[in-house]
Amino acid sequence: MATFLLRRLGHSLLLLVLVSIIGFALLNLAPGGPLSQFALSPGMTQADLDRIAEQMGLNRPLPVQYLDWAGGLFFGDWGASFRDGRSVLSVISGHLFATLLLMAASTIISVGLGTLVGVLGATRRYSLFDQLATVGAMVALSIPTFWFGLVAIYVFALELGWLPAGNMYTIGDQSLGDYAIHLILPSVVLALVNVAIWSRYMRSAMLDVIGQDFVRTARAKGLRSQRVLWRHIIRNALIPMITLAGLQLPTLLSGALVTETVFTWPGMGRLFLDSLNYNDYPVVMGILMFTAILVLLGNLAADILVAAVDPRVRLE
């Protein structure tokens, strides 16, 4: 296990370096580079810009600038927002809770529903249900999340009036129930794609396990089929799902951005778009790096978890 952990950590560290290099390259793509915001203000001369560049250390060689930037990233100095001068990390953390709440709620829905559909599909292979689930998953993957959100708002908020059309809470009423009611539509909308993906992979993982010898042995021993299903098949089929959960993290984050926009949910995705509209590049870059690091850590955690529950992985 120790060698596995070390190797996996080394891999993540290398990825982190590569991710930061890509991020730094992006930063220098911004129109006018990091100086863009100053170039916008009237009365700014080239001499002024040169002086600022000198002060910000932008005339140093690129590798030195990169090391400086990456060092700041590492030690928690992510720069300050152009909008209000607050530190980028504190701006992000102010919006983190809303996004994590949305992603958690949607993950619970997609894992629960996806597992159920996948298990039923695999145990009743080629049945009407299985075929409908297969087609349904492909259609669900083809529906644009934001459009599904619009349709959901139209039906459940505007026509039926059952649920609120957006925001995280009603002003003046921040009870738990109020949060819950506001959470329903966005988390279901965000879950749609992931239910589809999860159910397909779960079905496939189930079929892989069902064909294996130990399942036949368990049946031959005379175990009840329900017990074989739960103790042998589903338990083993869930292991690759841990990896999948890690791999799906970028999709989930992208989906959260779109969902937050449609439902005016005050999360990181909304913050990202707002910052783009204000040309607030430090926050834009901050969120981009933050999500990439989140994905990296998520995958690392998933791999360690898989190794913890499945000894075969550690030995490879």
């Binding site: 590569l18 529906i143 459009w147």
Partner: protein, 295 residues
Amino acid sequence: MTAIPDTRPKMRGARFLQSRGMRRFFRHKLAVLGLAMITLIAVACIVGPWLLPHDMLDIDIRGRFSPPLTDTYLFGTDEMGRDLAARLFMAGRVSLMVGVAAMVLSTVVGTVIGLLAGHFGGALSTALMRFTDAFLCFPQIFLLLALAAFLEPDAMMITIIIALTSWMEIARIVAAEIRSLRERDFVTAARVSGASHAWIMFRELLPNAAGPIIVAATLTVARAILIEAYVSFLGYGIQPPLPSWGNMLNNAQQYLDSAPWLAIVPGVAITLAVTSFNFIGDGLRDALDARSDMP
């Protein structure tokens, strides 16, 4: 001595349609349905604007917000009284073109990187694949929006940006496929007979990896159309007055209560087009690549 007749099967015309892969594809009902749907959509987008009585830029202020099937307005009109059907078909041209062009670009990039990594192995392979992994850490929409905001792009640039953020999966698929082909006898035979790296990569390995690449490319069209819709909806993709299915939905949320068809019509178009490509991709996977049944 008479020449030995060439009895190798030729894959041309009718023979190609009767080949095992094609027969399997056409047995796949959903794939055929997808092919029919996307053909219909493409023809409508190409021919539609000529047949409709209205130009997509004609403004009819008194007829604004007409619901579908009012007068000559098939799908109704938008907030400026422009014909929604005319705009939908013109937008379809843009969205489909962007989707297909982005697919071609990302498939080329992904295939080249996957070929290099798979064929050469060693340090080059490790470097390329880690680079691919690093790109995969960035959630696509975030990366795309940042690029689009920084570069303030036109339609062509959007296509390039979409390709730039979606080549990674094809690279991984191709690398894995090439790695499994590399040790096969026919490749060894080519190597010992002195074939160059380029010959082995493009004439020996690539044709044998065509199946998975075609499947991945088809699914990439579906993804690219969706992604274009996302960024255009968010205001950073195709910019008006050039319509795209995504930016048609841009304003739709404001009028959701009074004119829901503004949101419903383009959304259905996107869903149908993307579903078609996903169905076709699924059929092609069954026909060309029997091993995996992953989504």
